[in-house]
Subunit: 261 residues, 2 copies
């Protein structure tokens, strides 16, 4: 029963991104990473290097962000969950804390990220929902949207769906799932990919949105995925961050929790 | 085709009450009524006497608050809806505007108000939901809660469920519906009454909550409704306003919209 000097704690984090300048810590602005690091420091008196799986944009939300940190504190994970939730502001919550192997890395061990983009066809939805939905005020035809989404799975160069990318930077990502479905007045786009290039989720949603409202055809959308046909082309509009939620980060079975000793 | 000098416009209003000091206008604080009056004034340049159906508490929400005002402005109701939504802040929305007879009065013509109180058994729910739910962190037994709720319909003196009421003030109200149901980790209390005494919805919810967590018995709850047995008794706890939403205000069929001329 030797006590390990350091432990790695993995957190599943939920947040309403409205009042955050995104995940990634920055000076002088309120970020989720910064807020969490402060709370960890308040709880155990030590600053931690908190590593997140996905750098969500300012205004985007999360129901299943994952992050990890190393700590000498022997507190059991359930206690971490409890005490962190006590000091965190109401727009951030730990859904689960667990102990993972020291080698675990939230970002590098992640197999995929699952995002959802919600669009309402109404110009205004209930104030209790509008923080999480892009209110477009336009009828959308989901048939061509589904057709366009069906071309996404597989490996593609997502240069046309990315933000300010260096010409030499690799924009190839593997999309595992892309679907479009109706839920009341909402059209919901589900995207799962190995990883996302900066701005990719909101630009894929934007591309599908343009197809849904008849501004672009399915074949125009498809052409964006074929490198030689759309070099320099960048028509997808970027939809507002508030419609985007990181639902889940998936890991392999080999990175299960370390059993508490 | 003579134009009426004044028209009465009826609004169905939705709001996230988190950042409001309640419905009723007060000096120097942000209220829903004040915010709406400002918006009406911005739209048509004239101040209006806006009359609401229900004075919701600070922090309580609404999906179907009703209010009305008199205006010389000949703008059709659909236009009112559109332009008000353009100037209103994101936490307030007009769900519908209609023209009603001049004699209509949101408060006095209302036949009943429907409130919902949401309690989660978890200590913390997702930040995207926690603004609308009281997170009690306790298991609740809904069977005795339902039993207690079943004693509410009918006419009762709700003195024991009211806030600072003058001894001579009438606290008799008619409850039309009271139910308790489970929805995932939530227990939802639905209350419909002719009208509510100040604090009544949150105190009925508080009483049912005490029964649900086993602190009080169903018969103790029932006794609060029988005047001579509980004079001076006031055990129901007041649950936080954030769990409370005004779902609907009901009117008789005779108060339908005035057809546009």
């Amino acid at each position: 029963m030797t006590e390990a000097r350091e432990r790695r704690i993995r957190l599943v984090i939920q947040y309403d991104g409205t009042d955050f300048c995104g995940w990634a810590e920055q000076k002088d602005v309120r970020t989720v990473q910064g807020t969490l690091k402060e709370s960890i420091c308040r709880v155990c008196g030590e600053s931690a290097d908190l590593r997140g799986a996905s750098r969500t944009d300012a205004g985007a939300h999360a129901l299943g962000q994952v992050a990890d940190f190393l700590t000498p504190n022997p507190m059991p994970p359930a206690k971490w969950e409890l005490v962190l939730n006590r000091v965190l502001p109401p727009d951030t919550r730990i859904a689960r804390a667990s102990r993972v192997p020291l080698r675990f890395h939230s970002r590098f061990f992640a197999r995929s990220r699952v995002y959802e983009y919600r669009i309402s066809e109404r110009a205004r939805v209930e104030p209790t929902r509008s923080r999480y939905v892009y209110e477009c005020g336009t009828r959308l035809d989901t048939d061509p949207m589904e057709e366009a989404a069906a071309s996404l799975p597989g490996e593609h160069d997502f240069r046309a769906f990315s933000e300010k990318l260096d010409a030499l930077e690799n924009a190839t990502r593997r999309v595992l799932r892309a679907s479009v479905r109706r839920a009341r007045d909402e059209v919901r786009i589900l995207l799962e990919a190995s990883a996302f290039v900066r701005g990719m989720a909101r630009r894929i949603a934007g591309g599908l949105f343009e197809v849904g409202r008849g501004k672009r055809s399915v074949s125009e959308f498809r052409r964006l995925l074929v490198r030689h046909e759309r070099d320099g082309v960048r028509w997808p509009v970027v939809l507002p961050a508030k419609g985007l939620t990181l639902l889940k980060v998936r890991y392999g079975v080999s990175h299960r929790d370390v059993r508490e000793s």
